[in-house]
Structure formats: structure tokens, C-alpha cells
Symmetry: C2
Subunit: 219 residues, 2 copies
Amino acid sequence: MGANPDFSMKMAELSATSGVSVPTIKLYLREGLLPPGWRTSPNQALYGAPHVQRLRLIRAMRDVAGLPIAAIKTVTSVLDDPTRHVHNALGAVQAAITPVPAAPEAPAVHRAQEAVDTLIARRGWRTEGNPARESVVGALSVIYTLGADNAHSDTLLDVYAEAAERIAAADLAGIAAEPDSDKIVETAVTWTILGDTILTGLRRIAQEDASVRTFGPAS
Amino acid sequence: MGANPDFSMKMAELSATSGVSVPTIKLYLREGLLPPGWRTSPNQALYGAPHVQRLRLIRAMRDVAGLPIAAIKTVTSVLDDPTRHVHNALGAVQAAITPVPAAPEAPAVHRAQEAVDTLIARRGWRTEGNPARESVVGALSVIYTLGADNAHSDTLLDVYAEAAERIAAADLAGIAAEPDSDKIVETAVTWTILGDTILTGLRRIAQEDASVRTFGPAS
């Protein structure tokens, strides 16, 4: 985005348009989250639509997805990498936004690892070194440690995995449907991150409905 | 848990068993996240298995689910409420753990509200004042604002909603299958919170597989 005569906004206007304060914009520029503008003098640069777009994405990652600044920085560096390949870009973004929990007690972890690996094998998923595996193992091992599993838990995991597979197929179809090839990675990143919020949100609304059906409303 | 002769652990032993430091345990006691032990003298109390269990749950909410302390406090207060009703308890927990994003630009929000309400109506979900609706609207409006939607996006939302419905039905069946009625609310809370991590983690692994199929590995 360096030298582009289409850029016509001064810093103050960029701030007003995006709703992000000038000090925050300056921080993002220093940290490399926001690409530089078109420098018109030693003390001034002009910004354009791509900067407004990037600020919106940063704000969404921070406020909607609740990502830490380090994860946001990794995502923007993937977006700004001209050599990026869609599959690798997705992997880098997944690694950045997937928290890897501290390992709880060993027996539960072994049991959870076995359950997750069996699930992956049963579905025939090709995966290698995905940090999300640790994340799932961590959550499941906590469930085992807490004794929150019961006769229905294995079925529940199967339902989750089947749902995840349908969703992922639709996600990738959505990414492949992006007509502007320059935007494929950005679309992939946006849906990967915000899709979590949409999916878990819809799960909660559906849970409310299922809870009324199962337990009835409180008197 | 106040006066229970089954409690036999001093604070130092509770810390060693749970892996949570003594200052942190004292903080949780002061804040009411951890119920008091059985006081044996003005300066000493004894703790038992329920305290170890609670500390594990708190640690999971903090480390695995990344919840802020205020949300954890709401969840533990629901668990400690003897008058709790499963349906209401689920609602209170959902409200505590669902972040409500700041509203982005108006036209995108209206469009997202309409899309979400249409989706809910089409699925026949009974829902009232669920904070997750705002959460989904927020994420979707950011997608619209960023122009990350395309011809496939409405289909994608339908796939998410159908998956959410299957998952929620399985979630509630899992909760109802809990044989110990005293544990129903804790099982519900644990799966609601950690189920997000499991589900989004499985989505990422399935995405990796779908991405290889769609785009092939990078050369």
C-alpha cells in the first residue's frame, strides 16, 4: 500500500472514519499491524480505503473475537505477506488464534488424547501438528478430571465432530466462492475468526430452545 | 460445604493437590468463588474433595476457556445457589460467558439483525433476550462491513444453524443423562463452557483437512 495517489485521508480523517483514536492508529502503525500510508512530507502521510478496512478487521479481532494483540499481529502479517498460500495462511492464522492450555493431570490427558485421536481417525481427517488438537485434548481432559462425562459423552463428541466436518466443508466452499482472488485470504481469516463467535452464539440460542423443551421453563 | 467432618485437608495440602497457589486460593475464598472450608480454629479451616473439584473448574474456565474473573464469579455463584433451576442456571451462565461486542456501523447491523432473526424463525427456535443473539449479530455485521460475505454466505449461515441445533440437542441429552441430579448443573456448565473449545477446535482440524482437499498443500 506504500505509494498510492488514491489515498486522500489525513490521519485525523482516518480516525474519524474508522472510529479508532489517533494514538491507537499510531500504535498499530509502529507495531506493523497497519501498513504505512503514502508519505507526502516528513511529517505527513495519506491513507485510503484499505486502511479503514484493516482497522475494522483489527477492531473485530480485538472486540468481537477477544484476541490478544500478539495474535492480531500474526494475522495481519499473514495478510500482508505477498507470498502467502491459502492453505498455509489458514494454518498460520489457526495457530495464532488457538489457545493451548496448560496440561492438567496426566491420566485424564492420556484418555483425552486417545479419544481425540480415535475421533480424528474415524472421520479420516488429514491433520498434522494442528494446535487445535491440543486445545481439544485440554478441554476434554478437564471434563474427564471434573467427572463431567457420562454415558452420553462419546456420542456427544461424535455429534460435535460430524457438525465440525459439515461446517468446515461449508467454510471452505465459502472461501472458494470468493470471486476476488486478492480477497481470498482475508475472507478465510475473517470467517475463521468470526465464524467461531457465530457458531458458539447459535449453539447458545439453540441450547436455550432445547433447554425449554427438555427441562421446561422455571416456575 | 460449611461444617463437614469429611474435610481433612489443610490449606497447604489443598494447594498441593489442586496445583493452585495458597495466595490464589485465599483470593478465591475472599471473592466467594470457592466456598469456605470447615473452620476448626479462628486461624485454620479444613477443605475436602468439593474444593479440589471447584478449583479445577475455576482453572479450566480461566486457562482453557479464557474467561474473565467476573464471568467465573457468576458461574460459581450459579453453582452455589441452592434454589437453582437447570433452565435458569444455563441462561445465567450463558449470559456471563457471552461477550457482547460494541455495535459497528448501523446499516450492516440492521442487515445482520434481519439475517439472524430470519434464521431463528426458520429453525423455529424459542428464544427470549438471549445475549448470544447480539453476539452473533455483532460478528455477522463485521463480516458485512468488511465485505467478507459472498454468494455462499447465506448457505454457510444455514449450515452453522443446523449444526448448532444438532449440537444443542446432543448437549441437552448429555446433560439429561447425568445420573447424579446434584451434578446436573455442574455438568451443564462444564460442557457449555468447554464444549465451545472442543467444537471450535474440531472445526479447525476439520478445516485443515478440508483446506488440503480444496487448495492442496503448499509447494
